[in-house]
Symmetry: C2
């Protein structure tokens, strides 16, 4: 049957958000594994670290002093990749050397004054505070820029060496490359089916169940059919919503709940603070019709086998096509088998 | 002027091969650098390592014994991501869960029996041997599969923990995602301009000079205008050639020469065995017109500041758009300043 073949044979799966394919090689997971069993990472950082530039009251490299914040704290990135440029670039008239000016902003969002706690270790009330901060940033930056990218890089393997819980928000006055692809593909589906791609997809996955990791009344977390990273997940609302600012109080509370539950599964999978990059995508802030948009969050974790063995997206992936070993169905099953009580809590 | 603004302000550059944009933030390179100055990596592995599964005469995990090879040695990957499947998948009739069967092959190419030498440390004669092996593989696999991807992952940071000089070749019976994009964009340019995109581009860069790292009669190496990775390079032929099998003896000799010279610059930049993923792209092996194709090799090295400080392509890059700090022009200048005599040779 198809299902057995998908579980056993190399095949390609299509990502309808990006209109790109991923190569799946399930038989590769059968490769012998001289299984490095790692001890749980139980070394917990202190709640306050005098050398951390994100802790309350500490000095940053610019000389600015962080306030004695209680919930979240947002400040302009000290070395922003995006900023408002003084000079507008002349667009060079060339078919191959094409550049354009970009205006934007970059900010850092501290999730909590507690240096030692990552998102799944915060209370649901504190997580609602994080969601509210995301909304405030979205509206502030959306008033000025077309695209607002909320994201978090977590863990040294994702280039983030400071364990203090924090994310970022970058905004630019043009649709970025990946956003433009998704925008086009959501619009095409809406046009062809008169329905929303991600709402249809959420319903379908809930009905099938095999890729669902967690669900509640308003949200569902799946390992998407077209996942690239071994334990990649997609967090989807079960109701139409174009961006975080559209959520009501109840939907935010249930978002906090599902975030805490499924991020706890992540940490429990390899008994470590699970590294990932995550981010929210939703409607653009321009004058065009945005009704084809549906809010979603993607989580891209690099780990494959253990707290230290990651998947490398390298040669074939960079030159030709992304490739994965275990199937999305196997990954979802592994995550469903994890507890929703954090391994560090007692 | 434009040139000063490109050197100083955030802007976006367009990649005509992928029709994608990259964000450039040159001002970010001015961020203070508590410059970890690293000692040159002078620990050279032995010429033969009894525990290496690629050295001549050694046993692999399958029980197979490597022959006493002198030049290159090719064998089927012991855990292939692509293989010929027994069962053809039924294409499921669904607009969102789309999968298809793929047939293919995966092989390993040892570049030399000498465990201690990477490509720039081989003689030009040995490099011609590597090129000839690539050609043989291309023709063998091209007879059966539509796309033949020759590539090399080098260095632990690129997922390759064995320093024995080797690359891979994977083939599949369908155009992979990135290849399909390049195919479409080369065809469009050819259609619009009645010229080849990459031939035009090579000429333009040679005339301008500022992004050229190395050139000879038949080849040029540039940091492309749209480079993502800090020291990414593009190796281009200066004559029309759709794939490696079209090269004559003289063109292969001059390819060996330029490879040795510019890979030596790479090693000298941070005085280490410079990690990267590289790969060749050229025409597809199908019955369609391939005259829009032009052979090229891309090198994607992760290092940014030193032998151990790499660029992370994470949050914003994964969710929204690739981002770089130093400009391609600055990177080319740094590489031009490096010697073409290897730091380990005397
Ligand atoms: O085949 P290898 O060397 O074991 O595997 C390496 O290269 C492959 C092709 O780029 C990647 O898919 C793997 O993630 C990487 O670890
Ligand atoms: O801004 P940070 O945390 O210094 O930088 C990190 O996140 C950025 C956004 O994903 C990346 O561009 C950088 O490569 C990464 O190191």
């Amino acid at each position: 049957s198809n299902k057995a073949a998908l579980d056993d044979q190399s095949h390609r799966r299509w990502n309808p958000l990006l209109d790109e394919w991923v190569l799946v090689s399930p038989h590769r997971a059968k490769r012998p594994w001289q299984g490095q069993q790692e001890a749980p990472a139980t070394d917990v950082p202190p709640s306050y670290d005098a050398s951390c530039y994100l802790c309350a009251g500490n000095k940053r490299i610019t000389g600015d002093i962080n306030p004695a914040y209680q919930g979240t704290f947002v400040f302009d990135n000290d070395f922003p990749a995006l900023q408002d440029n003084a000079v507008e670039l002349d667009v060079p008239d060339d078919s191959l050397l094409v550049a354009r000016s970009v205006q934007g902003a970059a900010r850092v969002i501290c999730f909590s004054p507690d240096h030692s706690k990552s998102l799944p270790q915060l209370s649901e009330a504190a997580l609602v505070g994080v969601i509210d901060t995301w909304v405030t940033q979205l509206l502030e930056l959306g008033a000025q820029y077309e695209w607002v990218q909320i994201f978090e890089n977590k863990g040294a393997v994702m280039g983030c060496s400071n364990p203090h819980p924090h994310g970022q928000v970058w905004a630019q006055d043009q649709l970025p490359t990946e956003a433009a692809k998704i925008d086009a593909n959501l619009a095409r589906y809406q046009h062809e089916h008169e329905r929303n791609l991600l709402l249809d997809y959420a319903e379908k996955e809930i009905a099938l169940g095999e890729r669902v990791v967690e669900q509640n009344d308003h949200w569902v977390v799946v390992v998407p059919f077209w996942a690239c990273w071994p334990f990649e997940t997609l967090l989807l609302p079960r109701m139409p919503v174009t961006h975080l600012d559209q959520l009501n109080v109840e939907q935010k509370a249930s978002l906090a709940q599902i975030l805490k539950r499924f991020l706890t599964r992540y940490d429990n999978l390899f008994q470590c603070s699970f590294p990932y990059s995550m981010g929210w995508r939703g409607r653009a802030f321009n004058n065009q019709d945005q009704s084809h948009w549906q809010l979603h969050a993607s989580f891209f974790p690099p780990l494959l086998r253990s707290a230290s063995v990651k998947k490398f997206m390298v040669g074939y992936e960079m030159l030709a096509e992304a490739q994965r070993d275990i199937t999305p169905e196997q990954a979802a099953e592994r995550l469903r088998a994890c507890s929703t009580t954090h391994f560090l809590s007692e």
